[in-house]
Symmetry: C2
Subunit: 164 residues, 2 copies
């Protein structure tokens, strides 16, 4: 049995898009995916891509993917962020996730990143145990805040600045 990780090409985009939706389903948030395949293609496979992907293979068969981009920390500088890591259920237990994290750690080193980060759902105990086993630390002190969709425009168009 051989496992492999390679850079994704534009031909992999439909596979990546299908796994994004499977991952959202696992995360109990299938209805949250507003992204389309066209948008994914435009954002990642044209000039000035907003992210980069790798394909995970088991015996030459596509079995999973990663999607990353660079962030910035005012404490540590340039950081590598892993937005998505997903392995199809039938290919789990073969070391694909560990291969991905090890290779991406190497990317982080080569890019001079002070951090390599991702997030985990607080109820995903197997993932939390796995991440701890590879040396990651969890920091539940920081909470995500966000405005989405219409709420962004509502704030942008709120009361005149002079009266704030």
């Amino acid at each position: 049995m051989s496992i492999n990780m390679r850079s994704a090409s534009v031909e992999d985009a439909p596979f990546i898009f299908s796994l994004i939706n499977k991952l959202a389903e696992f995360e109990k948030a299938a209805d949250q995916v507003k992204l389309t395949l066209d948008q994914l293609l435009q954002d990642g496979f044209s000039s000035n891509p907003l992210y980069f992907c790798h394909i995970l293979e088991s015996d030459g068969i596509k079995a999973g993917f990663t999607l990353c981009y660079f962030r910035y920390s005012t404490w540590k500088g340039k950081s590598l962020y892993l937005e998505d890591l997903f392995v199809e259920p039938e290919y789990r237990g073969r070391g694909l996730a560990k291969l991905a994290l090890k290779r991406l750690a190497n990317t982080a080193v080569n890019e001079g990143c002070g951090r390599f980060e991702w997030q985990v759902l607080d109820w995903n105990e197997p993932a939390i145990m796995f991440y701890k086993s590879i040396g990651a630390t969890l920091d539940p002190e920081w909470i995500n805040c966000r405005l989405e969709g219409k709420a962004i425009g509502d704030l942008a168009n709120s009361i005149p600045l002079s009266s704030i």
Copy 2:
């Protein structure tokens, strides 16, 4: 009393660097700032900047700053992320933070972002109340995971891939 928000220039970098350190002190993490002024200048004020900053002014005096960059969500596409927002204590209560968030919401709209995001410390009640008041939602279900410094290299150089 007038308040204003403008794009930062390279001359503002020392001011921004001083506020990054003041913010870390407020966050009880002053020892976490490994970034230097030189690195900050190189990362944000050269070609291919990793972030962009705004200066907040009160009656023409520098009173605070924001530092942002773009992220990517596989659910919502391109996102605007606010890494740092800090107003000097003596200039609080004048609406500078609200001005900043409103203006950045406008940036998010103009850039076609599906999300405008930031994080808050779970014990920072005044900030949490303020963010909720402008329509933000908090999502404590996702926990930050990270490798930093030596731990990144340790994973990159861990056991040979063939034995994973």
